[in-house]
Amino acid sequence: MNFLEHIKMASTTLLANKMRSSLTMLGIIIGNASVIGMIGIGEGAQSFVNAQVNSLGPNVLFIIPGSPEAQSRPVYPPQTLVLADAEAIAEQVPVVEEVAPSLNGSELMSYRGKNASASLIGATPEYLSVRSFDVARGRFMSDLDLKRNEQIVVLGSELAEQLFGNEDPLGKQVRLKDISLQVVGVMQPKGSTFGTNQDMNAFIPITTMANRIVGETSPYGTQVTFISVSIKNPDSMKAAQFQIENLLRLRHKITDEDDFTVRNQKDLMNTLGQITGALTLVLAATAAISLFVGGIGIMNIMLVSVTERTQEIGLRKAIGASQQDILAQFIIEAVILSAAGGLLGTAIGVGGVFLVAAVTPLSAGISPVTIAVTVSVSGGIGLFFGVIPAKRAAQLDPIVALRSA
């Protein structure tokens, strides 16, 4: 008797008991759907985080005020970074491509009675390329603008729309506190990064920002909120980080605890990846337990089925079925049940993942490998839990089996 005929016969038997077959599959369906759902959501979260980190710009280091230890303290660290630090990095660290210091703030911006809360970014021309922003219309700031403390602004796409609607913002004056700024450009939409809407930004020359808007400088020069640094070659990331740290320690005359922190994208990605990875694992493990319980359900029903079908087994043996034939028949039934349950569960799980993706910012990330693995695992569960009932069936004495009326 060949394999195909075994499958055909098992299907006939299972279809003859539709109610029981589907109830038996239910455990596996739920188990598989939850495994797929959990892994899918985990993978979605992972790729969401990666996309967020990538949107910060490629090969970028971030220098922020305060020691690495201070980053976890609830108080805001003092502004220890100054514009001169950024200039020193650009001049003295050879692997650095560009340096973009920025001085951030938040102010109400108005145009002809319309107000919008803008995220002010005092920037340099390098900000555009280091942080992967693009100008949609007009221009970004130039070195000359910085030198002259020009009162100009480049608006984020959403901010421009809120203030100007359908009107062309280029050349118009917007008001900020008691000064007015001329709009010279509008940015391409960028979306949000870690909950910050990048399209509500207003880019102002960092000198203008420091002198006219923030209006305070430290004894060491113009303070900056943080410095983004792009590196020529991703392989020299570590070297760049090391050189920048040494340079800043020297400049800040540090002997004890650093008053700044250098972060790279990869660290950030790894940290976040570990968190989402652990989360995925916990979720998947919980779901795997329900898959296991589903397997026990299959074994339970198959055992009942062997008892119920004792006469059938006896008859099959009497007309020539060998022990192997009976063993194969029951194992194949169990595997079909669990594999079919696995497929159905996968379909439901994938559907669930896409549903979650549709209503949350998470992307529907479910890899074909995950699907292949979970379906074969559920098939394997059928194989594993089908063996005991199948063995019991195969070893039935045909005489006793035929008598059991």
Binding site: N2, T13, E312, A318, I319, G320, S322, D325, L402
Partner: protein, 252 residues
């Protein structure tokens, strides 16, 4: 049990042909250790090709045990059993499954049809295990069903058939692999007298066309339609060649 018969009578010995069943001093002991039950105490029996033979006896006489051994469902404790010239007494379970499949056809009191399969599929089942190609399977199963007069019921499920029809499907299933021996265990036990006759007619017709038939029965009316009756008592054959006429005279 009183009998007016001499133990060994050879009224109607069939023309000597090939020997199908040859049991030599078969013993069957059940249980182990101190509580042993001797179900068969040295049975010797020969059935030639083309015979039509009933096995009778009270319950516990050993007639079912001997049928199980003849049908290769069970192995004797000692003794030799030649089926179609081959000693199968101590064959492995695997080998016996093959022998049952190709050399023996079984008919049971409870029909034992698979409820989820059509008559045709039920009849095809033994050929499935024999590895007969699909096309030939269908052809032979259809022929067997025609032979038992069920050509109009081929696609019916067992629950759409009467008891007599179900037993005819079972007979078709038993003969479809062209066995050397057709074994029936109380084949009419679950049937009324009218359908009993229908089924017996099929056995008689099969035997007439050359099939060797052995059946266990406790119904005198059924045994009387066969040509040879073997009588069991207490694990032994006490009469091996009674004729139907002898049953009239006997006061069992």
């Amino acid at each position: 049990m009183k009998t007016s018969l001499s133990p060994l009578q050879n009224h109607q010995q069939p023309p000597s042909k090939k020997t199908i069943v040859k049991l030599e001093n078969i013993k069957k002991v059940y249980g182990m250790g101190e509580i042993e039950v001797q179900a068969l105490k040295g049975v010797s029996l020969t059935v030639e090709q083309g015979e039509y033979c009933s096995i009778m006896g009270a319950s516990g006489s050993g007639k079912s045990t001997v049928m199980n051994i003849v049908g290769c469902l069970d192995r004797p404790s000692t003794g030799a059993y030649y089926l179609d010239g081959v000693n199968v007494a101590q064959m492995s379970e695997q080998e016996l499954a093959k022998i049952r499949n190709i050399k023996i056809g079984f008919v049971f009191q409870q029909f034992h049809l698979l409820a989820q399969l059509s008559a045709l599929d039920n009849v095809m089942l033994p050929m499935l295990y024999a590895g007969v190609p699909t096309g030939e399977r269908r052809k032979r199963a259809t022929e067997a069903l025609i032979r038992v007069g069920l050509e109009n019921r081929i696609q019916n499920k067992p629950n759409q058939l009467s008891g007599g029809q179900q037993q005819r499907v079972a007979i078709a299933r038993a003969i479809v692999n062209r066995p050397v021996l057709l074994l029936a265990d109380e084949p009419t036990g679950a049937l009324d007298s009218k359908t009993t006759q229908e089924v017996m007619d099929i056995f008689t017709e099969l035997n007439a066309s050359g099939m060797t038939v052995m059946m266990v029965t406790h119904e005198t009316e059924v045994a009387r339609q066969t040509r040879r009756i073997v009588w069991f008592k207490d694990g032994e054959v006490i009469h091996s060649h009674l004729t139907p006429e002898d049953l009239h005279e006997a006061t069992f």
